[in-house]
């Protein structure tokens, strides 16, 4: 091999090797270089365990920035005001709470999906944190199903007074996580981890197949990150958001130029009665199962309270602003729940009231989840409801 005279022909290989070295460095320092688009990924548990038993990496903590989950899907580069600060704290069991919260008796549990876990929300703005901090109602954030709550041994001794099932109207009608409790003794005793390192040593094993390794390397690649960023930046320099949205080749995320908001599966979130997943029989079935669960929880001295909010499509799109009450699935759901004697907080009215007095939206324009204002509104309405519906008046919850 004669390198000396024609050494410059080997420069591409040198550059290529530099890319390899950059990615090796990035991989080895992956804990210190957060290149993830949201904290959720950073603290996600990729061990493949059941989400109900270890949602996040226990005792892990993320303090950084995040952007909406829909931006990447459609190819928008985040504007400065769309890069939000986020703190993400995980307790000793893998749930998003302050550590040791369960060491003392708790008053309530908030149950639901990512809206409750707060994928897009900083720690201090979670419903559980607001209720605990501002209203002195010690609340545990547990984005799992009612069955997991029922099976969880921790709550046999530390039984809350209330369980708040929080979600959008579509989730309350259709999601499995709220569904019926099967009667059995609590058997699940979640492991309590003292530190993230302790959990990591036992759980975060190195991959055992090439595919998993390759996936991991790609996930933490700095060159890939830079390439994606460059692609986004160029596309956003060349086109407006409306143009980018028009060129989008996927069906999942849509952009509404009027509200300047992104929507996740807009067509499937139609809040009109009789549409997909929102038929009268769906609502009745949901009310029946919630009633059964509520009765069982009452036998343990726990009150089940349903908090159903309008979906993003419902709350933010002009199209659905004036649907009559008789066609509004959320209103029908609330009425049906009341008919079945399931406790429900009227969030439809609360949202209407909010919309009339505020110009700001209830959902993040760039994310599928509602924003911190909505979390404060939910917390306030929960407390108002409890105050209005608690028999012992002297135990009113105050701010």
């Amino acid at each position: 091999m004669s390198i000396s005279r024609h050494f410059f022909y080997y420069i591409p290989l040198a550059v290529w090797l530099c890319l390899s070295l950059i990615d090796i460095y990035g991989f080895l320092n992956r804990e210190n270089i957060p290149i993830y688009f949201r904290a959720w990924e950073y603290v996600s548990n990729y061990t493949g365990k059941d989400a109900g038993f270890a949602v996040f990496k226990p005792m892990s903590r993320y303090s950084g920035t995040m952007t909406g989950d829909l931006l990447n899907g459609i190819g928008f580069s985040p504007k400065p005001n769309e890069i939000r600060k986020q703190e993400f704290i995980v307790d000793e069991y893998g749930y998003r709470n302050q550590p040791q919260l369960l060491d003392k008796p708790i008053d309530a549990i908030v149950l639901g999906s990512s809206f409750v876990a707060g994928g897009q929300e900083t720690q201090e703005n979670l419903i559980s944190e607001i209720l605990t901090r501002d209203y002195n109602l010690r609340t545990y954030n547990s984005p799992t199903s009612l069955q997991y709550y029922w099976d969880d041994y921790r709550f046999k001794s530390n039984t809350p007074k209330y369980i708040f099932v929080v979600g959008t109207e579509g989730e309350i009608i259709n999601s499995l996580w709220k569904y019926i409790i099967e009667e059995k003794e609590p058997y699940n005793i979640p492991h309590k981890w003292n530190s993230y390192q302790e959990w990591k040593a036992e759980n975060e094993q190195l991959p055992n197949t090439f595919e998993k390794w390759a996936f991991l390397f790609k996930q933490y690649s700095l060159t890939r990150f830079a390439s994606v960023q460059l692609d986004f930046k160029l596309k956003n320099l060349m086109y407006s958001r409306e143009e980018i949205a028009k060129q989008s080749t996927q069906n999942f995320v849509t952009y509404d130029p009027q509200s300047k908001m992104l929507f996740w599966q807009k067509d499937f979130d139609n809040p009109t009665l009789g549409t997909e997943g929102k038929k009268t029989e769906d609502i009745v079935k949901s009310a029946e199962t919630l009633k059964k669960s509520s009765d069982q929880l009452n036998m343990r001295g726990v009150r089940l309270i349903v908090v159903a909010l309008p979906s993003k499509t419902h709350a933010e799109l002009e199209t659905y602003k004036n649907i009559p009450d008789s066609q509004n699935a959320l209103i029908i759901l609330q009425k049906t729940l009341k008919k079945y004697e399931v406790e429900v907080i009227d969030m439809n009215e609360a949202v209407e009231e909010y919309k009339n007095t505020h110009s700001t939206p209830l959902y993040y324009p760039d994310d599928s989840h509602w924003n911190s204002d909505t979390n404060y509104l939910i917390s306030k309405k929960i407390v108002e409801y409890l105050n209005d519906n608690t028999k012992t008046k002297n135990k009113k919850i105050k701010r």
Binding site: Y10, P12, L13, L17, D23, R224
Partner: protein
């Protein structure tokens, strides 16, 4: 691990190449270069899983020993016996792994019994690239048997030939005679390095920028297979035709480029096949190494064109049916091969002056339409799906395209434009003639890094021919 995968592009190949070049830097270390290639090839093959690694390794030793016996034995019957033993064993492995399900399933339809039912559902892991590997091994044994080459006496050298990863999985089918000198001794100089850069960067660009970009369109239209109108049926046909070409061409160029980086010279595998003027011409320009293999090891042993007109046509038909079956165990491949065989025979039968009267451009367009239409049968696993496409094409119905189809189609415009430009204006054979200079070095380096970056941003799609 695909050649266009992140891991290959960022970790495996540049690091392997750097280590290899270090061994090439001094004569003393150069002895290690074959060892580096064997280790690299094994790692590459292992990336597809540990399943059936023995199917790759044991026959290497077996074929080496058999070739030795064939080469050293003077008794003709013994030579023939060793040769047949090798061919039967290799074909047996291919038959077992690739055709057991298909054959047992078809036999079950004729003679239903529990054994065949069980056999057709037994889990058989298809070793990646077994079709190409088998053909390569058979060519080696045949060439030794026919005394075209001498059997390798160096197991190390034979192992390099049998395992060399650039052509291991999807060709080009390289014959021992083509590279045995380079296995013994080769030089990596700036020219071979530049040639490697040209072929690899162009191949990666064609794969990522054309083939992989057309895939979402095809994927989307596949979901609408029962609702196709004429326009969508034409789009799906042309899209697959272009994707298959640029996917396989991209792979072949990358394989030639990788080999060149290591100092090997692999034969060309394409020669502008979509500008062919007939099906006969097409098979001389498409997957050339396979076409030549089929000619030399199936068509000619069957008698070729030496036994009269009828026998020649029959040989052509049999050869193409086998070529179809080689691609996959399914009726679609058999039908596809048979139709190609029929067209080859028809071209032989038709008076040449009638065909020659047509303008060249017309013949090219007709051949392209015919080849692309036949790819529809090749693409779909069931003939009923292909029938749906043909039916939609002939009903002459047109519906407005949905927004999402329009958007996907719009996003593929650059891929279509460059693809069509390549087909019309670029000759693959001319790539070899590009002489190194600084500006070309800069251009192809930029093309390489752009393609690497692009492959990371977009979805990585497996090479179509990897499944064979």
């Amino acid at each position: 691990m695909n050649f266009s995968d992140y891991f290959f592009l960022i970790y495996f190949f540049p690091i392997l190449l750097a280590i290899y070049l270090v061994t090439q830097s001094t004569p003393r270390l150069a002895r290690l270069s074959n060892l580096i290639l064997i280790i690299g090839s094994l790692l590459f093959y292992l990336s597809f899983g540990m399943n059936n690694i023995e199917v790759l390794l044991i026959p290497v030793f077996f074929d080496f020993c058999l070739a030795q016996l064939i080469g050293k034995t003077r008794n003709l019957n013994s030579r023939k016996m060793f040769f047949l033993m090798g061919v039967v064993t290799n074909l047996g492995l291919l038959g077992y792994f690739k055709y057991t399900h298909f054959l047992s399933g078809q036999l079950f339809l004729l003679v239903p019994n529990t054994f065949l039912a069980k056999l057709s559902t037994t889990e058989i892991f298809l070793p990646v690239g077994i079709s190409f590997i088998t053909f390569q091994r058979i060519s080696y044994l045949t060439d030794v048997y026919k005394k075209k080459i001498k059997a390798s006496t160096n197991f190390f050298h034979y192992t390099v030939y049998a395992l060399l990863f650039p052509h291991l999985i999807a060709g080009p089918i390289v014959r021992y005679s083509e590279i045995f000198q380079e296995i013994k001794k080769r030089y990596v100089d700036y020219q071979s390095f530049f040639r490697g850069l040209v072929f690899f960067s162009v191949g990666l660009f064609l794969k990522t920028f054309i083939a992989d970009q057309l895939f979402p369109l095809e994927e989307h239209l596949d979901t609408l297979i029962t609702q196709l109108d004429t326009l969508k049926a034409v789009i799906i046909t042309l899209s697959f035709s272009l994707r298959l070409y640029f996917d396989f061409l991209g792979y072949s160029l990358m394989a030639i480029g990788i080999a060149s980086f290591f100092g090997f010279h692999f034969p060309d595998n394409f020669d502008s096949p979509y500008t062919s003027v007939s099906i006969t011409d097409f098979w001389q320009k498409w997957n050339i190494s396979l076409s030549l293999w089929i000619r030399d090891y199936i068509y000619i042993p069957l008698g070729g064109n030496r036994k009269g007109e009828i026998r020649t046509n029959l040989n052509l038909l049999i050869t193409m049916i086998l070529a179809g079956l080689w691609h996959g165990a399914g009726w679609n491949y058999i039908v596809w091969g048979t139709l190609h065989g029929c067209f080859l025979v028809t071209e032989r039968i038709l008076p040449q002056n009638i065909i020659a009267k047509l303008p060249k451009r017309i013949r090219q367009i007709l051949t392209f339409i015919l080849v692309s239409s036949l790819w529809v049968i090749f693409k779909f696993k069931t003939l009923s799906e292909a029938k749906l496409v043909f039916h939609a094409m002939t009903t002459w119905t047109f519906f407005p395209l949905e927004d999402i189809t329009q958007n996907i189609l719009f996003a593929t415009i650059p891929a279509w434009l460059i693809g069509v430009f390549w087909i019309i204006c670029i000759k693959e054979k001319n790539l070899k003639a590009i002489q190194p200079n600084v500006w070309k070095l800069i251009f192809f380096s930029c093309l390489l890094f752009f393609s690497i970056s692009f492959s990371m941003v977009k979805r990585s799609i497996a090479f179509i021919y990897f499944q064979f």
